[in-house]
């Protein structure tokens, strides 16, 4: 069993900054976990309007966003500022994805919480001893004072996180997923933002006239059910445990695939076990911070996917076996 340790030299700038900090928020020595709890509430409750820059694999994308919650109902709009001008408008659980260049609107139901941040720990997250959480320093993002919270992994099996929280509201103005070499793998930041301002209804209206568009109502084609399975990984990295097991019917197929979700409280890894009727591709794959690894074991195709380093999905996939 391999437990690679994260090099001590990977966070020197953060440590130096921490030692040198003297700003007011840090001086108060608020528990960084309290900041994360405040953040969880702020994400759910804060109304905002602004411009978000998303960066992944060195590519930047700008989005105009409007978000408000009234009487528990989420209302929001996201408009891509480049390319095809994609708009997503959400009122409660009903979501309209508007594709101006296709003159089409896709209507669907979302029942999960909604934020733009790909790597944000939720308020329910309670990660254990595999990470350290600390306040690093104060900074400015989108013209506002922030405090930088760093979530540092103890080993190389998971990524780190940096979250810049608005000092006044604890709203996350910037998030980064940090790789083992200390660089940002994915990043979301506000270039400008107005917090807790009154959002006018017109701000949530479509930017284009959709009267003559083709409207499509698309139900989910993905069906899942809770099951028990004899499949397990015999070499899980420290801190990971199975948190859910489902039988999934994949879109376009009637075959039920076993889906085991492992989590260390912050990073999540899905392992899919599918009957293998014919040889399929094996090996690693990556998109931004998401890695996957496929292997053939006992006549099944095993695929591990997660926002963790490549070594983690490979180790878990290769160690899958029947109890």
């Amino acid at each position: 069993m391999r437990y690679p340790r994260l090099g001590t030299s990977l966070w020197p700038a953060l440590i130096a900054a921490q030692l040198g900090c003297s700003a007011s928020a840090l001086a108060e020595r608020i528990d960084p976990n309290d900041w994360l709890n405040r953040m969880g509430a702020a994400v759910q409750m804060t109304s905002y309007e602004g411009t978000v820059i998303r960066i992944q694999d060195g590519k930047a994308e700008a989005l105009k966003v409007v978000h408000t919650v009234t009487d528990g109902v989420i209302r929001e709009k996201v408009v891509a500022q480049e390319g095809d001008g994609l708009e997503i408008i959400r009122i409660g659980n009903e979501v309209h994805c508007i594709l101006p260049d296709r003159k089409s609107v896709l209507v669907e139901e979302w029942d999960d919480q909604s934020t733009l941040f790909s790597t944000l720990p939720s308020s329910q997250v309670r990660f254990g001893s595999e990470y350290d959480v600390s306040l690093v320093r104060e900074d400015r993002v989108a013209g506002r004072q922030t405090v930088l919270v760093a979530i540092r992994p103890h080993d190389s099996y998971r990524f780190g996180h940096r979250i810049w929280l608005d000092t006044e509201t604890a709203f996350p103005l910037q998030t980064q997923l940090i790789g083992e070499d200390g660089t940002a793998i994915e990043q979301v930041k506000f270039a400008d933002i107005s917090l807790n301002k009154e959002i006018h209804a017109s701000a949530l209206a479509p930017s284009v006239n959709t009267e003559n568009f083709l409207w499509l109502n698309q139900p989910s084609q993905h069906v899942k059910q809770e099951i028990e399975t004899r499949w397990e990984s015999t070499d899980l990295p420290p801190g990971f445990r199975a948190v859910a097991t489902h039988g999934e019917t994949m879109p376009g197929s009637e075959e039920i695939v076993t889906h085991i979700l492992y989590s260390d409280g912050l990073a999540n890894i899905s392992v899919f076990v599918a009957r293998q009727d014919q040889p399929t591709a094996e090996g690693p794959s990556r998109v931004g911070g998401s890695n996957s690894y496929s292997a053939s074991i006992d006549g099944h195709r095993i695929t591990a996917v997660g926002e963790v380093p490549a070594i983690t999905v490979e180790q878990i996939a290769k160690a899958m076996s029947l109890r």
Partner: protein, 201 residues
């Protein structure tokens, strides 16, 4: 920071700074977090908001500058700028299910401007293999449709655990590039969509 430096950074971001001056500026940026922040600001906001064409090689510098934003030591400091990136790969898909399935089934999706398709790998025929890029990084390639679906389901599952919904949809909608699915439950709608898409650009 004086105006001259700002102008230098601006010219650098626009790809108009002579090589010798660019090298000097890069060295200064490696030592000066403020310069890196300013360059990153020009890169990220200016280019993204105004839709400017990216300067040659500038995207490759973005990783170095992103490292500067986070106050971390620059990775591969000794690697020339032109060689330090090349890590970007063809984005595969996002993670949610319903929207992309419908969009792909009915319309198909175009590559967004942010998608790097320069590696020329056909998604339908791609196999699990690694590409050695000029910087020496091993870049795993996307594999097949089944993996795409698994990534989506994983994203939906983690969205249930946390609060990633909107981002999952965005990633999905922006980067999906699959071939059309085999069938659509609403035959009439599919026919209409086919007719409609045939008339669209």
């Amino acid at each position: 920071m004086n105006d001259q430096i700002r102008m230098q950074i601006s010219a650098f971001v626009d790809g108009e700074l002579p090589d010798a001056e660019a090298d000097l500026l890069l060295r200064r940026m490696s030592q000066d977090a403020e310069l890196r922040r300013k360059a990153a600001e020009y890169l990220e906001i200016g280019r993204a908001m105004r839709g400017e064409a990216s300067a040659r090689g500038i995207e490759r510098l973005q990783e170095r500058i992103a490292a500067g934003i986070s106050d971390e030591p620059l990775a591969n400091e000794d690697v020339p700028a032109e060689e330090s990136a090349g890590r970007s790969m063809r984005p595969l898909v996002g993670v949610a299910v319903a929207a992309s399935v419908a969009l792909i089934a009915i319309f198909g999706l175009q590559l967004s401007p942010g998608v790097d398709s320069t590696n020329g790998i056909d998604n339908e025929t791609a196999v699990a293999e690694s590409t050695e890029d000029p910087a020496g990084y091993t870049v795993p390639q996307p594999v097949d449709d089944q993996l795409i679906q698994m990534r989506r389901i994983h994203g939906a599952s983690t969205a249930e655990q946390g609060a990633n919904g909107m981002n999952a949809r965005l990633v999905n909608l922006r980067f999906s590039e699959e071939p059309p699915a085999e069938e659509d439950p609403e035959e009439e709608a599919a026919d209409e969509a086919a007719d409609e898409s045939a008339t669209l650009p």
